[in-house]
Symmetry: C2
Subunit: 229 residues, 2 copies
């Protein structure tokens, strides 16, 4: 059996869980808190980061970028999506990877670090430098609006974020937003277009395991797992 | 002709220039200072980031990750390297992408942001928040040692960073280090192993254009372009 070292709320770990589930590939999940710098994690990934995907009798993929590209190369079929998750043509793949980069990079810097890092990760990390920074939290809450508007703008023009088919762009964006939604910080009701798109993703079987996540000492709000949110 | 919007000192732009040169693909280079938020840049990449690779009658690649994967898919041959720059087997590709992630992520956070951002980019950026932060610069200078040791450790065991052949892992690492070397902040003489590896890269024809870079108002130190440094 393959094994995934992950953190339940880290968006990049969530992406790989979604991608595995869309491909109906099983994995044993092992929770890592990277800030604990466990020897077993450092042995497989000297960067000390998650996700790490360990294939039985196969390669070890350190980081979400090696893991996502590997899964597309090794298991190109995705039964439920109807098309390759990275897109078929060079043009399609350019757009899927652009949006993966957008949500892994820009969204992460502008929203996730300001909210998830401040509110949750800092609590557990040694040497994190004090309590939550309220100005960072305000910035994160303000910045999320642009991204929700961008999702609405894209899905007014296309069925899914990168084109006519579900892709890794949708899974990456949903991985980020689901982590922020776990904090109760996504203003869905002010962004109907983004909400409609997220409702479609949330009802996919691949999403079920994420919606069952429950971090000890930091439970999600009631609407988090509700398909009619 | 294809066109590359880039910043001369940004490591991710440098990587794409090296990759194009290793593949002997020509491109018109257009310098962008992303912080100017030029309309022409925002029109092709709404994220406002470089590099952007624009193929004539082909896709536009926004960001180094879409661009590097595209170049490998569209132009798999790399005359001078003797092997695919991303590696041949799934195992090889896992290792190349792991190290791309290491130098794009970990090195960038621990070294590049502390040195390049503080010393150069902040000078030009509006709202950058004051002069260089001397504690960040000290941290960047301390952090670089671990990365140089890691390069030496890898190249004691392998001909190149990811294995027996030159790969994008070497080009990404060299793109980062060459930008820091432009500042004169790489202690080469304390790290012979890393210096030997860098000397091999520096003497490749693909490196020539980078060594000719000269930023107005911020010239490189004399050893920067010297092959016998």
């Amino acid at each position: 059996m393959r094994c995934l070292l992950h953190h339940p709320l880290q968006p990049q770990s969530r992406l790989i869980r979604l991608q595995l589930a869309e491909k109906r590939l099983d994995a044993d999940l092992v929770v890592e808190r990277p800030w604990d710098r466990r020897d077993e994690l450092l042995m497989v990934n000297p960067a000390g980061e998650v996700p790490v995907l360990i294939e039985e009798n196969g390669p070890t993929l350190c980081g979400f970028y090696p893991a996502l590209e590997y899964l597309e190369e090794a298991y190109p079929d995705t039964a439920g999506a109807g098309a390759p998750l990275l897109g078929r043509s060079l043009q399609d793949r350019a757009e899927v990877r652009r949006l993966i980069g957008w949500f892994d990079g820009k969204f992460e810097r502008e929203v996730t670090r300001n909210l998830l890092h401040e509110k949750i990760f800092k609590r557990f990390m040694p040497n994190a430098g004090g309590g939550p920074d309220s100005s960072a939290i305000r910035a994160g809450k303000a910045n999320i609006a642009t991204h929700l508007q961008y999702i609405a703008w894209l899905t007014e023009r296309r069925a899914w974020l990168a084109g006519s088919a579900l892709s890794l762009a949708d899974l990456m964006a949903a991985a980020q937003l689901s982590a922020i939604d776990y904090l109760g910080d996504v203003p869905w009701d002010e962004h109907e277009g983004a909400k409609d798109w997220y409702a479609r993703l949330k009802s996919r079987p691949s999403f079920r395991a994420l919606l069952a996540d429950n971090l000890p000492g930091a439970p999600p709000p009631p609407h988090y797992a509700d398909l009619d949110f």
